[in-house]
Amino acid sequence: MSDNSSNDAYWKANVRIILISLVIWALVSFGFGILLRPMLAGISVGGSDLGFWFAQQGSILVFLALIFNYAWQMNKLDVAHGVDEE
């Protein structure tokens, strides 16, 4: 077992990755997909604009990238802090 100070650092690093991921999560869906859509109106994508694409396709693709990136980063972090499963 590792001591508590290492666990604290592990948890802080985890929370940091989560926060960054959630900022991107909100930006592509609530941001690009809804609130910032007027700003992206000039960028046309196949008969509509970038905001429409993010609302119906892009946000889902980014969500996928976020989850796989999180799994990959956390599995590395587990090993670095010696808290991985044998």
Partner: protein, 595 residues
């Protein structure tokens, strides 16, 4: 071979497959019944989660919701997928580490409170039961349409099949049938979509076809669609018309609700390791995205197809389709088929032998109608739920595709129903019977009571499916509201805060639950009794916030109350702080106790 025989063959073959899996995957222990012995590969679990999650609503209704509203209903796409990010980052790995069998068990242990556990169980049972009604009615409708048997007989056959694999196989049987059901439903959804995308845009990938060019006109598909629907007096398809605040809150409520639905969360108890739970959430979203990236294309293309079928001679400036064409031409056969179900209807109001389809609420079109002697929209009924089921017929696809869609619709409804029933039966046998009434119950008897609870839950769900309460359609908002306002915040605070204590958690859950229920009842009627509502969603109590969007606010109230009350009451004991510490690190998950 007749269409009926083809449908029967596809549905029969898929059911034989599910029963075969049931015989192969019998559960012998409570661990197998509740968590499939924790031996499910993360990719397999991801596929099962996708089938578990994608219900009759995703398969049958969602493309229709998007087709008839356009951009504004993007909330469903972002909301029902964005929840998986919350689930993967905030809940799944930690709950897997905790290593117990039910969501309520975590809440009860972490907040060292039997009351908290019971509140969670009640929310879980209410949310899952309301959700299962829709699945059972969906099974009845699909049977009724495709196998031409009565709703009741269809529902009873569906219930028997679920009984076979859920009661005997438990989570183990449900998991492997869900994998099979996913394969059936995704094939059934994408094959017609690929055909239609090829017909309209020449691109075999519907998600790319949606942003491609319309072959017949050479214009981008979405520009063409915007032009066609505005010509008929409807709102521009790709434009933003909805209230922005409500749209944001609605999307957020769907996300939080998704992450808080117990039948989805409990799927992550079945994988061997914490790291598997993280990967598995990603795989689940991959399999869900295959349908969700296709759905907006299906919606947009079907909308274009229908508009052009009703105005086959160069749009609204040409002549409308004639009743003779509808009766005699093969490409209009689907209209007669669906008219029989009562979900589609038309009426030649002005007696000119043609069916004019347009928005008769639009002033410009009213002026045009007065000039041309039209007496209102003559496509009098078009239930948006038939869109996906009728889509292969509308696009004139071969009859085996229609049989496949029948099997797919049933797979979507049955897989979600089984997941919900499993959540209900494990809450009853594990949380209520073992947790509260008889803690010393033997494993054998607990397994027996889980099976009896499952049998009773299926019977109740079947009865509710046969006699759906008038408010059935409203209850989905209730299920998401409850999950968002009570379960998600309690789980998240249980993991991310050591300070939230028993009193705080219970007050938070009750506060979130109460404000959400009151807000829904104020708008939909108390206990959904018509006429007892003081407000409507068209003119809501708080600004523009509809009752379906309130789950996010309920969740915020839950968080606020829980932190405030915890600050004023006795701090959490050391052993609970240790429990939170241990849940946060993956090491030791393999040795976690199953009891």
């Amino acid at each position: 071979m007749s269409q009926f025989a083809i449908n029967l063959m596809f549905v029969g073959a898929s059911f034989a497959l599910y029963i075969g899996i049931a015989i192969w995957a019998r559960a012998g222990s409570t661990s197998e019944f509740y968590a499939a012995g924790r031996g499910v590969h993360p990719v397999t679990n991801g596929m099962a989660t996708a089938a578990d999650w994608m219900s009759a609503a995703s398969f049958i209704s969602m493309a229709g919701l998007i087709a008839f509203t356009g951009y504004d209903n993007s909330s469903f796409l972002m909301g029902w997928t964005g929840g998986y990010v919350l689930l993967a980052l905030l809940l799944a790995p930690y709950l897997r580490k905790f290593g117990k069998f039910t969501v309520s068990e975590f809440i009860g242990d972490r907040f060292y409170s039997q009351t908290a556990r019971i509140v969670a169980v009640v929310c879980l049972i209410v949310a899952s039961t309301t959700y299962v009604i829709g699945q059972m009615t969906g099974v009845g409708v699909a049977f009724g349409r495709f196998l031409e048997i009565s709703n009741t007989a269809g529902l009873l056959i569906g219930a028997c099949v679920v009984f076979a694999y859920a009661v005997f196989g438990g989570m183990k049987g449900v998991t492997y049938t869900q994998v099979a059901q996913y394969c059936v439903l995704i094939t059934a959804y994408t094959i017609p979509a690929i055909f239609i995308s090829l017909q309209l845009t020449g691109n075999p990938i519907p998600a790319l076809g949606l942003f491609g060019d319309h072959v017949a006109s050479g214009e981008p598909l979405l520009s063409k669609l915007d032009a066609v629907v505005t010509e008929l007096g409807f709102k521009e398809y790709t434009a933003h018309h909805a209230d922005t605040l409500n749209m944001v809150l609605f999307t957020l409520s769907l996300m939080i609700g998704t992450a808080g639905l117990p039948h989805v969360i409990m799927r992550f108890f079945t994988v061997p390791k914490v790291s598997d739970a993280r990967w598995s959430a990603g795989w689940a979203l991959v399999f869900i995205a295959l349908l969700y990236l296709t759905a907006p294309a299906v919606g947009a293309m079907a909308r274009l197809n229908i508009s052009e079928l009703m105005w086959p001679n160069g749009g609204i400036s040409g002549e409308a389709v004639t009743t003779q064409q509808i009766e005699n031409e093969a490409e209009y056969d689907w209209m007669a088929t669906w008219q029989k179900t009562g979900l589609l209807d038309w009426e030649d109001k002005n007696g000119d032998g043609k069916i004019q389809f347009y928005n008769d609420k639009n002033a410009d079109l009213q002026a045009m109608a007065a000039e041309k002697g039209w007496e209102g929209n003559e496509l009098t009924k078009f239930n948006r739920d038939i869109l996906v089921l009728a889509n292969p017929e509308i696009a004139n696809l071969p009859s085996w595709v229609i049989g496949l869609v029948a099997a797919g619709g049933l797979a979507a409804a049955l897989s979600t129903a089984a997941g919900l029933l499993l959540a209900i039966s494990s809450a009853v046998s594990h949380d209520l019977i073992k947790g509260a009434i008889n803690p010393s119950i033997s494993e054998k008897n607990e397994l027996l009571s889980a099976r009896i609870a499952m049998g009773v839950a299926i019977a109740v769900a079947t009865w509710l499916g046969l006699n759906p309460p008038g408010f059935a359609a409203q209850t989905v908002a209730l299920a998401f509201g409850l999950a968002a306002a009570s379960i998600f915040p309690a789980l998240m605070m249980g993991i991310f805060s050591t300070k939230v204590n028993n009193v705080g958690a219970v007050s938070g859950m009750l506060a979130g639950l109460t404000v959400t229920l009151v807000y829904i009842f104020l708008h939909k009627g108390w206990l959904f009794i018509p006429g007892t509502n003081s407000f409507t969603d068209a003119d809501p109590l708080l600004g523009t916030i509809k009752s379906t969007s309130f789950g996010a606010i309920g969740a915020a109230v839950n968080f606020a109350v829980a932190y405030t009350v915890s600050g004023m009451t006795k701090p959490t004991p050391q052993e609970i702080k240790d429990l939170v510490e241990s849940v946060r690190v993956p090491r030791g998950a393999g040795t976690a106790q199953d009891h």
